[in-house]
């Protein structure tokens, strides 16, 4: 019997954040089971969020200086992964904090464990360096999110959201798996991105590789809710508990972009073979369609939750503008990628706040239509202020950080002569004034039937205020974060 190949336990340090989160989740679950009476709801939320934030700190301290491929070529640990880990851990921590005050959820310990596992799976998605790991991590994240969407017991809409999300997800992920299996077969049984890239050069395989790339793109488009695979978003966001909708619309979307960038730029690098032209050419139409369909459909919504769903489709379109700039331009690729990372991070903060406020209004005013926001500025001034900050940042109005993010993305796109694309983007931003400011108008101009103050839970209120202030502060202190994004982008391209 042959022995094992050399075992280097230090390789596990490369996935230390994931290991720590899983250990913490398992420990909390066990404590909740064995402690008499279990862990109280509020402590559970604080403990999960605190653990995630500590792991975020560990992630920063353990950031790899050089990109390294570890654990048998499964994970590529570099600064790009570190930045995405931070996005997921922060998104999960904020989701844990705001979930406890969303009363209909009655979130028990299992809920927080699901959120934590989703964060781990998303990190592994972005860290994956071969198609096996890519598929497994994507499915792990997806299944956890299907459960989270349907977790609100006794609520038909939530159950419908979970089932709908599952059915759409199963179809697109099977399509993606078919594409991945073609990559496996065409490259002669290779799993790693780099080996696939070297098999691409055979000219007679151009057509099948193109087909495989299209099939895989279906899976990525579903995760990023890009047109024409955005149909699930409004129904799932509307039915899912608001904090979960916030998590899906930010962390899951960021993970979708993470795998899209990793897979296409490593397995099918633009400019290396003709087969990679397929996805490079598709980025621009996807960006245009996603922005335009998202914003046009958001205008006609009367429900804020559905409006936010279409807005998140449009936001994905702006990110695709950055991806297009990255795919088409060879010189400023690092800057374009940094712009994409920066946009995803700021969008995560912004949208989670929006869904947190929405959750309060939904539950304490009685619905999530525009009219339910009437007079919120007088009923809960700080909450309204947080929502206004979030809406302005999503719109991209100065001095919110969303403005900086949009300017950077458009600047990089103009840098590679994508002027028509940027023009369409700016038209869509102008259209989005209508629906984002509609929320602000309802809160500050309209009058509600009852002007009695609204009870704002203290944890949720402070999270909303801290992040809202952060959205302004980040604009003026964006330099270190932009520097980190740029470094991550350079580490991504150094492969």
């Amino acid at each position: 019997m042959g022995g094992f190949t050399e075992v280097n336990l230090a390789e596990f340090l490369g996935i230390l954040p994931e290991i720590l989160v899983l250990l913490w989740a398992t420990l909390l679950l066990a404590l909740d089971l064995f402690l008499p009476g279990g862990i109280p709801r509020r402590s559970m939320s604080l403990l999960s969020a605190g653990g995630l934030l500590i792991v975020a700190l560990v992630t920063v301290l353990m950031r790899p200086a050089e990109p390294q491929v570890i654990l048998g070529g499964m994970v590529r640990n570099d600064l790009f992964l570190t930045v995405f880990r931070l996005i997921f851990l922060l998104a999960a921590a904020l989701t844990c904090l705001v979930s406890v005050d969303f009363r209909p959820l009655r979130a028990g310990s299992e809920y927080y464990v699901l959120v934590m596992f989703a964060a781990v799976a998303m990190s592994l998605m972005v860290g994956a360096d071969n198609i096996l790991m890519l598929y497994l991590a994507t499915e792990s994240a997806s299944f956890t999110l299907y459960l989270l969407a349907g977790v609100q017991r006794g609520d038909r809409l939530s159950a419908e959201a979970g089932l709908k999300y599952f059915v759409f997800g199963a179809v697109t992920s099977t399509t993606m798996l078919f594409g991945l299996s073609l990559f496996f077969g065409l490259s002669g049984g290779q799993l790693s991105y780099k080996a696939i890239a070297s098999a691409l050069s055979q000219p007679e395989l151009r057509l099948p590789f193109t087909l495989a790339a299209l099939l895989v793109l279906v899976g990525f488009a579903f995760k990023t809710s890009a047109v024409p695979f955005q149909f699930w978003a409004p129904d799932v966001y509307q039915g899912a508990p608001s904090p979960v909708a916030g998590f899906i619309s930010t962390a899951s979307k960021a993970a979708g972009f993470g795998i899209l960038l990793r897979f296409f730029f490593n397995a099918m690098p633009p400019g290396v073979s003709e087969a990679s032209l397929s996805w490079v050419w598709l980025m621009q139409p996807i960006a245009i369609l996603t922005m335009t369909v998202g914003s046009l459909l958001a205008v006609v919504q009367s429900n804020v939750k559905r409006m936010l769903a279409y807005s998140s489709v449009a936001q994905a379109g702006y990110v695709f503008v950055g991806v297009t700039a990255m795919a088409l331009g060879a010189l400023n690729r690092a800057e374009a990628l940094a712009a994409v990372i920066f946009y995803l991070a700021t969008y995560m903060l912004t949208n989670i706040v929006a869904f947190a406020v929405l959750g309060v209004v939904e539950q304490r005013v009685g619905g999530s239509d525009f009219q339910h926001f009437n007079g919120l500025a007088r009923r809960a001034p700080y909450l309204a202020l947080g929502m206004a900050a979030s809406m302005l940042s999503l719109l991209g109005a100065p001095p919110m950080v969303g403005f900086a993010a949009k300017v950077i993305i458009f600047r990089e796109a103009i840098g590679v002569d994508l002027v028509p694309l940027v023009a369409i983007g700016i038209v869509n931003v102008l259209i989005s004034v209508a629906y984002y400011l509609n929320v602000v108008r309802a809160m500050y101009v309209e009058r509600a039937e009852t002007e009695s103050p609204l009870f704002v839970p203290s944890t949720l209120g402070s999270v909303v205020m801290i992040v809202a202030v952060g959205l302004v502060v980040l604009t003026f202190a964006s330099e270190p974060f932009w520097g980190l994004a740029l470094e991550a982008a350079r580490a991504f391209l150094r492969s």
């Binding site: 094992f4 048998g72 077969g185 099948p208």
Partner: protein
């Protein structure tokens, strides 16, 4: 009259498979049927072992027992009312005839009396059942890995799953995924006892009353008409 050990084992396995399969199609209890289905699958894995097809046996156990049967068992357990449900099958007769036909067909093709058909002249069938499978499908030269399988392939396979330099991480991830998804499925599917629902309603009412009180003290004056506060507290 020489009866080999293999023949004895074969008969035993066949009895197990047939008995279990008959139980599956006749029982009225879905849960027991699912368990028996797993036993039938296990018997088939035994045939593969008997034929010295180790990989097939492992695949049979992993896929048919480890995945399919377990999936059926869990869906029966997690779906409310399914365990108590008595399934009726109106198509039993038709299915029995189909199964008999399939058996006859298999016996004719693979059995001792080999049925041979010359399809070369038949227009459609001759193209469908070509003996030579083309290597080039749709002008794509699909590459085949034709190297011989090593003797130790089963142990290699097992070791690959726990080797840090091979597939340990995916293996661990799947293990965690199954745990988490199972916990989540129970969370969603579990039926709550009336006492639990009542306790939760009381908890919500207490929280709402506390919030209303907090609002009143913050305002200094009763911000909410007292009747409205009372209805909230009663809720």
């Amino acid at each position: 009259m020489g009866i080999t050990v293999q023949q004895v084992i074969f008969v035993c396995l066949a009895a197990i498979v047939l008995g279990a399969a008959l139980f599956v199609v006749t029982t009225r209890n879905l849960f027991r049927g699912a368990l028996m289905l797993a036993l039938a699958f296990l018997g088939v894995a035994g045939f593969y072992v008997l034929l010295d097809l180790g990989l097939f046996a492992v695949a049979q156990v992993m896929i048919y027992i480890g995945a399919i049967s377990i999936l059926i068992i869990f869906s029966v357990m997690l779906t409310c009312g399914m365990q108590a449900m008595i399934p009726r099958n109106a198509q039993a007769g038709g299915v029995a005839i189909l199964a008999a036909l399939l058996f006859v067909l298999l016996a004719l093709v693979f059995g001792p009396v080999r049925l041979t058909l010359d399809l070369t002249g038949v227009p459609l069938l001759s193209t469908l059942f070509r003996t030579e499978t083309p290597r080039v499908v749709g002008d794509v030269p699909w590459r085949y890995n034709t190297q011989a399988v090593a003797e130790t392939y089963i142990s290699d396979f097992g070791r690959a799953l726990v080797d840090i330099n091979q597939f340990l991480l995916p293996f661990l991830l799947i293990a965690f995924l199954v745990d988490v998804v199972l916990a989540g499925a129970i969370l969603i599917a579990r039926q709550r006892k009336p006492a639990e629902v009542l306790a939760e309603q009381q908890e919500i009412a207490a929280e709402e009353a506390a919030e209303a009180a907090a609002l009143r003290t913050a305002e200094g004056a009763p911000a909410m008409p007292s009747t409205a506060a009372a209805t909230v507290a009663d809720h």
